[in-house]
């Protein structure tokens, strides 16, 4: 999908209007951002916004995140184990200490 984020009031207003009149192309709307369907028309709307508001419009191409394909097993398993921990107040790093789960710093340093 195309994620369009706006950084000025006028760009936000244009995005709002575009979303209102092209509902079929809008997947989700947030305050000053919107997810557009990945069709040529979605790209057309995104290009128009960028053309009009230049640097005040950010456009990213997003993909669904598949934790089985896009994240290492260790990360997925750490998340799963931590969410199922017995004591809800344990911070992650204390939880991970002494186990095979990666530390939060280690995960911060590694790109996906």
């Amino acid at each position: 999908m195309l994620l369009v984020v706006t950084y000025s009031r006028r760009a936000r207003e244009t995005l709002r209007n575009a979303c209102r009149s092209h509902e079929e192309t809008v997947v989700r709307r947030f305050g000053r951002a919107a997810l557009l369907r990945e069709t040529e028309y979605g790209a057309f709307l995104a290009c128009r916004l960028r053309e009009r508001h230049a640097g005040n419009v950010q456009i990213e191409r997003t993909e669904p995140f598949n934790e089985f394909a896009d994240a290492p097993d260790t990360v997925r398993e750490a998340a799963s184990a931590y969410e199922n921990r017995e004591s809800p107040s344990t911070p992650y790093d204390r939880f991970a200490a002494g186990t095979d789960h990666p530390t939060s710093d280690a995960m911060r340093e590694r790109e996906l």
């Binding site: 950084y7 000025s8 009031r9 000053r32 230049a54 640097g55 950010q58």
Partner: protein, 322 residues
């Protein structure tokens, strides 16, 4: 209020300034009440008079000129009072409150937000540069893909030719073949040339991607500041709305009273439906506001208020009757 006051052109209601009106034909009238009725041929139109009040002087010799205090904010909402006067009451009341100088609990917030907004100037985003970097990265990417395909094709041909040459050597039948060595040499040269090109554009692709990433990182921090600016702008807007609501609130009782008083005073049929009359709204705003520049009043409206002097008294504003 006596008519003498109007005739000598002095300020007769405390705080209501006088004014001077100069007509294109040279006639000069002094306020606070000027009655232009009964001189139809030389009288400027309503819009000419409105403009004269709004812009002051100098004006063209063919236009009337009004010498007066500069109109306040509320003035614009009630500049012209006639049977078909329309008014946006809330906006007018907010203007009245500003003219009166009413303070609200949100004023400091607004000043503060405006100051912060002025102090914040987000770093510029060089969009042309970003755009050029995106294009360069895209071109380098497409060129790399194209060359990679070409290299694969030519490499396939080289492999095939090498195999064929090996077979030929094995068959010991070199004499009949149309110089396979030559074709192989040519293909190998093409392959090495393409490989060199590919390595060049691949380098360019990496450079272009790095440049784009760098620019995008820079843009991100500029956008953080823009984020902050939008939030401040929204805060200013909210403060303004709150100030406005408080302003309207502060004068709405007085407005209702003024409207009721005027409704009692008005005679005749200029206000057929008192409950919904926008003229009555406008008259009440005029009465409430510290009006300092003259208002244009249609004669019938002034008469309904009891004549020019009574109208002046009841509206507390300098008037031009027409």
């Amino acid at each position: 209020m006596s008519s003498d006051g109007a005739d000598v052109g002095e300020t007769v209601v405390s705080g209501v300034p006088s004014f001077t009106l100069r007509l294109p034909n040279g006639r000069v009238e002094d306020g606070p009440v000027v009655d232009l009725r009964g001189d139809a041929s030389e009288i400027p139109t309503g819009s000419q008079l409105r403009r004269a009040v709004r812009v002051g002087c100098p004006t063209r010799p063919t236009s009337p000129t009004v010498y007066s205090v500069r109109p306040g904010r509320a003035h614009a909402h009630v500049a012209s009072l006639g049977p078909d006067t329309a008014i946006r009451s809330r906006a007018a009341l907010a203007a009245v409150a500003v003219d009166i100088g009413i303070e609200t609990p949100h004023d400091d917030d607004l000043v503060d937000a405006l100051r912060s907004l002025r102090a914040l100037s987000p770093a510029p985003i060089d969009d042309a540069e970003l755009r050029a970097a995106r294009r360069r990265a895209a071109v380098a990417g497409a060129e790399t893909d194209r060359l990679r395909e070409r290299v694969a094709t030519v490499r396939g041909r080289v492999t095939a030719l090498r195999e064929a040459a090996a077979d030929d050597v094995a068959a010991d039948d070199a004499a009949t073949a149309p110089s396979p060595d030559e074709a192989l040499t040519e293909a190998e040269a093409a392959l090495s040339d393409l490989t060199r090109q590919l390595s060049e554009v691949a380098t360019e692709r990496v450079a272009a991607a790095q440049r784009l990433r760098l620019l995008e990182r820079r843009t991100r921090s500029a956008r953080d500041q823009r984020n902050a600016r939008i939030r401040l702008e929204d805060r200013v807007e909210n403060c303004r709305r709150r100030v406005r609501a408080a302003h309207i609130d502060a004068v709405s009782d007085a407005f209702r009273d003024a409207r009721a008083e005027l409704d009692r005073w008005i005679v005749g049929d200029v206000v057929p439906e008192a409950d919904t009359s926008e003229l009555l709204d406008a008259l009440a705003v005029a009465r409430l506001a510290p009006i300092r520049a003259p208002l244009l009043v249609v004669g019938d409206v002034a008469d309904a208020l009891g004549g020019p002097d009574a109208a002046f008294d009841r509206l507390g504003a300098p008037l031009i009757l027409r």
